[in-house]
């Protein structure tokens, strides 16, 4: 009989699954308070296309947590950092963050460096009333998801304006083409804000072209941009594609200045781009060349902990996100969701290594941006632009 096996299978599976589910759910809130350590979740792109960002911010976070624990932790408890890798893939942050919240009972979530993936996880944190602090997601939509979502960096309307001013006033450009990645919220947003500001300042956008993440060939788009007679090119995307764009632009004989945003900041930009990226610029959150004692101290600590590496913007922001969280826990006097949220919202003049952090009414931080140039295969600080 055809259906007998099916019924049998259904019964067997049901019994098996019920047995599996026999573990009772514990009371999450009570668990969080009773825990001997403060569980903090982190989701980052440790592997994949934006691995450079995730690894950097993760290292910054780890350094901060280790320092905090060495000083005895907060409220008498030490931090336990639980990190999960989202492989730079869409769909992974949702699963990971759910797991961090329900299985690991974290009091807060740190992450992510990219806006797209932060946007994916934010609704889940918001619904579960777990504060989320993004170190480096710059698209304004991220914190608009709800009152439990924060960030310790500036947002793209500011960054776009910074690059527009830089293009107009410092590089003296009038016709800047824009090459946007349609695959990331960050790129689309930053392009929009740059265009708005650049046109408002009297500039022109003679050509707008698009590409998808993972694309290797930009010759077609660059040829069209060259034909439009642009005197500069803005590429608000991530470092892998930016490097290839620079190489192919130079191969096509285009000597115009090419610049971008904080998505460019990774050692791979120079590794892949080679000589083609010399003379290019990008904006970011932090420069290790900053003279302040706090930054010099951070540079030294980071180098000591991580094989002599120099920290970049992502590392500084990862470090600051953990610092801001600890500070808020201390002020709130508890790790309870609503209390922590209120304490985070009240963060004022926190001395971060990436700058003074004050969380505004929109849960964003207002901080200066720095412009970095690439010279002889190294990142070089050019100027700092205040909000």
């Amino acid at each position: 009989m055809a259906f007998l096996p099916k019924r049998f299978a259904l019964t067997v599976s049901t019994v098996a699954l019920l047995a599996l589910s026999a573990c009772k759910k514990q009371d999450a809130a009570a668990q969080k308070q009773d825990a001997a350590m403060i569980e903090v979740g982190e989701y980052a792109s440790l592997t994949g296309k934006e691995a450079a960002f995730g690894q950097s911010s993760h290292q910054g976070t780890v350094l901060a947590i280790e320092e905090l624990n060495a000083a005895g932790g907060v409220l008498g408890k030490k931090f336990d950092l639980i990190t999960e890798d989202d492989s730079s893939k869409q769909g992974e942050p949702a699963t990971i963050v759910k797991k961090l919240i329900s299985r690991n009972n974290v009091v807060a979530v740190l992450g992510e460096a990219t806006s797209s993936r932060s946007l994916e996880a934010a609704p889940i944190c918001q619904a579960d009333k777990v504060p989320m602090i993004s170190p480096a997601a710059t698209n304004p939509a991220v914190t608009r998801v709800g009152d439990y979502i924060f960030r310790v960096c500036f947002i793209d309307p500011f960054q776009g304006a910074v690059m527009a001013k830089f293009a107009k006033n410092t590089l003296k450009l009038h016709r800047v083409a824009v090459l946007t990645s349609v695959s990331s919220a960050y790129s689309v947003g930053l392009a929009k804000y740059f265009k708005e500001r650049f046109i408002a300042d009297g500039g022109e956008i003679p050509a707008e072209q698009e590409y998808s993440e993972g694309d290797k060939d930009f010759n077609a788009q660059l040829t069209a941009i060259k034909a439009a007679g642009a005197d500069g090119l803005f590429v608000p995307g991530y470092y892998t594609e930016a490097a290839l764009v620079c190489i192919q632009a130079r191969n096509l004989g285009m000597q115009i200045p090419i610049f971008g945003g904080d998505g460019w900041e990774a050692p791979e930009l120079i590794q892949i781009g080679g000589a083609a990226v010399n003379g290019c610029y990008f904006s970011t959150h932090f420069s290790p060349e900053n003279d302040s004692p706090a930054v010099k101290d951070f540079d030294a600590k980071y180098g000591a902990r991580f094989n002599g590496e120099t920290p970049d913007g992502m590392a500084a922001l990862g470090y600051d996100s953990a610092g801001v969280l600890a500070d808020a826990i201390r002020r709130a006097g508890s790790t309870d969701g609503p209390a922590l949220r209120d304490a985070l919202a009240a963060t004022k003049d926190f001395p971060g290594v990436s700058g003074m952090i004050t969380i505004d009414a929109n849960r964003n931080a207002t901080k200066p941006a720095v412009i970095i140039a690439i010279k002889d295969g190294h990142f070089k600080f050019v100027e700092s632009i205040a909000p």
Binding site: K49, A52, K216, L244, L252
Partner: protein, 297 residues
């Protein structure tokens, strides 16, 4: 306007040449074994990675050094292709085509994910093997890399034509592709011919991989997926089983894709390849240069 058109045409030819090299490999294997070797695109990727590692041992930036790396990659991938055939496809020589197709998918995934595990998923920089220079001609900028691609492709295709039509191995290949049983009857060792075909096709894929990596110097273990699919479309477009067809299909696809990418609808450029595939399969399934096959019941 004209110079932009000519530039895009050149870009398209350069891209198309790479598709042609990969497509020839697909078509050769299909011609002989009547199945699509999904793993071909990953042999392409392997070629690029072998090249990356071989480049450490040569003088980068000289013509001779570049040729050495190219040769190493081609030989390495020929070996890889022959090994895959021996281990994964030969046991299934008499199985239904579906089973072999699935095995091919398995091999493809295995190569991709092993690559990700051992090389890391992050993109790596591919060195500039040949000296890089630009030439300007009638408003069109020609990069020496693009010239290299076209030159190497033409040379390899001429070499292939020679092998297929002027050597005994080539004649045997054509015989096996026409009728494997009859070929056995006249004394051809099918196993050797099939291995040879795989080796040849894989060598061409490796060349394609190196040339691709020269022009787009960021390589990663999944780099073969899209070019592989598109090259397959090119092979079908030209008529699967026909080597000149694969070359023609590759060029056409490269040019169409480039013009779409330079237009306002640039993000649809991947879909264009599949659109072409579906249109061709509906209206002219044998492709541009293919011959209709009669199916005996």
């Amino acid at each position: 306007m004209l110079s932009e058109f000519l530039q895009q045409l050149l870009n398209g030819l350069s891209l198309g040449a790479i598709y042609a090299l990969i497509a020839i490999g697909y078509t050769m294997v299909y011609g002989i074994l009547r199945f699509i070797n999904f793993a071909h695109s990953d042999v392409f990727m392997a070629g690029a990675f072998i090249g990356l590692n071989a480049a450490k041992f040569v003088h980068v930036g000289t013509v001779f050094g570049g040729l050495e790396v190219l040769a190493t990659a081609m030989i390495g991938c020929a070996a890889l292709g022959i090994t895959i055939e021996r281990l994964a496809y030969r046991p299934l020589r008499n199985a239904p085509t579906l089973n072999v197709l699935i095995t091919a998918i398995g091999v493809s995934l295995l190569l991709e994910y092993s690559g990700q595990k051992f090389f890391g998923a992050a993109p790596r920089r591919f060195p500039a093997l040949f000296p890089v220079r630009e030439f300007n001609f009638a408003g069109v900028t020609i990069s020496s890399n693009q010239l290299t691609v076209i030159a190497v492709t033409v040379i390899l295709m001429l070499a292939l034509q020679f092998i297929v039509f002027r050597t005994k191995m080539g004649t045997a290949m054509r015989a096996v592709s026409l009728n494997p049983k009859a070929a056995q009857l006249v004394g051809i060792n099918n196993d050797i011919i099939i291995s040879f075909t795989f080796g040849l096709g894989s060598a061409l894929a490796a060349a394609g991989g190196i040339l691709y990596a020269l022009n787009y110097p960021s390589i990663d273990p999944l780099m073969g997926v899209m070019p592989g699919l598109k090259a397959f479309v090119a092979a079908v477009l030209g008529g699967i089983g026909s080597i000149p067809g694969a070359a023609l299909g590759g060029l056409i696809l490269g040019i169409v894709e480039t013009f779409v990418a330079g237009s306002p609808w640039s993000t649809g450029k991947d879909a264009i390849a599949f659109g072409i595939l579906i249109v061709i399969l509906i209206f002219r399934p044998t492709g541009l240069l293919g011959k209709a096959r009669v199916e005996k019941v």
